[in-house]
């Protein structure tokens, strides 16, 4: 580790009153702040040094909860639209919405997010118009929003390739002297991919402000985590790269906000990259095309339904007297608006222009593409005539 790197980590950690040693190692147990019944945890063996997180401010909790209510509705609406045949496919993050909205909530406007196919709720929560986010699943183009405008990469399908894009985006920002933080998302199964390793190592060696946020939803399609790794936890993978790691209950929005909010500040302050593992569960099948009963028991799903992030946050906020019925109704109303926007947008018949097929392959179509586009145009004219 270079002197600069060490100093960066030390200074940043000290500014939070923690030692670099405590900062670098993941907590022995998951960071959990609210239990599944919605009660704030205080008792127990006590927090470990360096992993003692304050409860976020009330207004941050309410804002995140608002996003959570909307996020759940987005998942449910999209799954319904798939069943009705309005979309080809939707990989739902039902059960993982706390992770999705916490990520979006902790970023500033100039920061970047590099999501996967599963992270539509995070993408919309970050500010991408819902219908634009769904274009890819509706099937009229491979991407529907402008990455530069929202500072959100196109939802990536080739596993963990986007983590390296996050590294590059962070490096570009650094070269221009901008204090951008970049969050890259991936799943538990994806941590076995080569690009996961390359991205974490690059980020650590270049000491870049990147947070790698892994949603460990226990499965990669049908394959359970035990078949991916025998590491003590996914967060512990950080140790080998000389990077800080943390593990958090991914169904506990309070804990997620606390961990990510501190993480963003540390990373922005020069502490280098951070790996966060959130333990959660994919309540639905991998996608609508998958049959989860072939590889997991319903009892397991029921167990996780009892830890539902939305219910948990609602009882916590209600218990603290922060969530009046009227406010809950307002959030639900907003969620209905977004659902209506999705229904209206996706029920519209869109006929993509076939000539667009040739328009964006290169800055200017090559002579060969011009020929092929003319051929298609002719075919279409003949088709119309007959």
């Amino acid at each position: 580790m270079s002197e600069d790197t060490r100093t960066g980590i030390t200074d940043a950690a000290r500014s939070f009153g923690i030692t670099p040693e405590d900062y670098m190692l993941p907590a022995r147990d998951l960071i959990q702040m609210v239990d599944p019944e919605g009660r704030l945890l205080g008792a127990g063996p006590g927090p470990e040094p360096g992993h003692d997180y304050p409860v976020p401010a009330d207004e941050d909790l309410l804002e995140a909860y608002r996003r959570l209510v909307v996020g759940r509705r987005i998942n449910d609406q999209n799954s319904a639209l798939v069943r009705q045949g309005r979309m080809a496919v939707y990989p739902s993050s039902h059960g993982q919405e706390a992770c999705q909205v916490a990520v979006a909530a902790c970023l500033e406007e100039g920061d970047w997010l590099f999501p996967t196919y599963r992270d539509t709720v995070a993408v919309i929560s970050r500010g991408v118009p819902p219908v634009e986010a769904m274009t890819v699943f509706r099937g009229d183009w491979h991407g529907g929003y402008h990455p530069g405008k929202h500072k959100v990469g196109i939802q990536s399908t080739p596993l963990t390739t986007q983590l390296l894009h996050a590294v590059g985006a962070a490096h570009a920002a650094r070269l221009r002297g901008e204090d951008t933080v970049v969050v890259a998302l991936c799943g538990d199964g994806a941590t076995s991919e080569g690009d996961f390793h390359e991205a974490l190592n690059f980020a650590a060696v270049f000491h870049l402000p990147v947070i790698f946020f892994v949603q460990n939803n226990q499965y990669a399609i049908s394959v359970p985590l035990a078949r991916q790794t025998v590491a003590p936890s996914l967060a512990h993978k950080a140790v080998g790269y000389g990077m800080a790691g943390e593990r958090v209950d991914g169904n506990d929005l309070v804990a997620l906000l606390a961990v990510l909010e501190r993480g963003v500040r540390l990373v922005r302050g020069g502490a280098g990259p951070l790996l966060v593992e959130a333990q959660t569960y994919r309540i639905q099948a991998h996608t609508n095309a998958d049959d989860a009963t072939r590889y997991r028991e319903d009892a397991e799903v029921q167990e996780w339904l009892a830890k539902d992030p939305v219910k948990r946050m609602r009882s916590y906020l209600t218990g603290r007297g922060l969530l009046a019925d009227e406010l809950q109704a307002r959030f639900e109303q907003e969620a209905e608006q977004v659902a209506a926007e999705l229904r209206n947008g996706l029920n519209q018949e869109i006929t993509p222009d076939p000539q667009d097929l040739f328009a964006h392959v290169y800055t200017v179509p090559t002579p060969q593409l011009d020929e092929q586009s003319a051929q298609l145009a002719e075919e279409l004219i003949r088709e119309e005539a007959s």
Binding site: W112, F114, W141, H142, G143, H146, P147, G148, K149, G153, I154, P158, T161, L163, L164, H165, A166, V167, G168, A169, A170, H171, A172, A173, L175, R176, G194, D195, H197, E198, A199, N201, F202, V205, D356, A359, H360, V361, Y362, T363, V364, T366, P367, Q368
Partner: protein, 386 residues
Amino acid sequence: MSTRQTTSPDAGSVDAVETAVDAARESTTRAGGAGIPGPRPESPVAPVPPGPVTMAKALNAALADALAADAGVVVFGEDVGTLGGVFRITDGLAARFGTERCFDTPLAESGIAGMSVGMAINGMRPVIEMQFDAFAYPAFEQIASHVAKMRNRTRGAVAMPIVIRIPYAGGIGGVEHHCDSSEAYYAHTPGLKVVTPATVTDAYLLLRAAIDSDDPVIFMEPKKLYFAKDRVDLDALKEQYESGDGPRAALESGGAAVARTGTDATLIAYGPSLPTAMAAAAAAQEEGRSLEVVDVRTIVPFDDATVAASVAKTSRAVVITEETGFASVAAEITARVQQRCFHSLAAPVLRVTGFDIPYPAPKLEHHFLPSVDRILDAVDDLQWED
């Protein structure tokens, strides 16, 4: 099979290659394919004739001039910093432009390519080096899935102004993994441009144009020509590049060049095979046959017009490449010429390529490489009735 035994430049040392290139240069009149002028006519007032410059030096100068011209250009890869690259193509760049603009990465080719994607998304123009042809394969997923497709995926919202420099092909007595002609993999991937220079002048001009291109360019450098020399004035080339747009146009719509004019048959070659083709044309001249040589230069976009015009004129063609022949660039060129020039052809278009075997060990490579004899044998087979 003829018993012809001329000396093949490919079978010999780098010296032999240099001699062939020098010879090629001297006997060449370049008729502009896509507006890249040939060597400037000797100025009557020029007091000092320009000294000999290697292709390596011209590439180095192109990188330096591009770094100086645009603050967004960054150069990175393995050993490109302090060492200046294993072939010294990036020699002195880190010292001159600083380690932020020219730097070494950890050893991870997917990492290098993926990072370049993220940097391009965030506004930079990365120029990355793959150390050898076969060591670019780990980067293939990033290249095929993102570098090539990001513009199309985002309907032009995100450009990929990335140059991937790959030293390629054999003839240097290299061991396995150091001599692959991998151009077909890239040429088969829509969204990529594939460019390969064969002369010192083109090395400079095409690399500058590649760096300025908003499309990703796979820049294939024939490593056996790195130390081939030519008398060029690099300052004049810089001036020529910056005041015209010939090379940029070549990358937009294809830029083949007639490297030697002739009347009886056309040899179509590029990169490492061009000097061999030129030597074959020189040898044929002695036998009383006038061969035209076309240097493809831009494999993608392919310059159908220049190639077809030459073959329509001569009525005969041989395509010469170093790659294995099956499903190759040579196969594509042959098909295109056959289709476009069918009625002017006096004989089927023939191919001289490598065999369909893994690249051989050093002591056997001369059996694999297209040689002057093999080319002349192919020319003999072009159904001459007289």
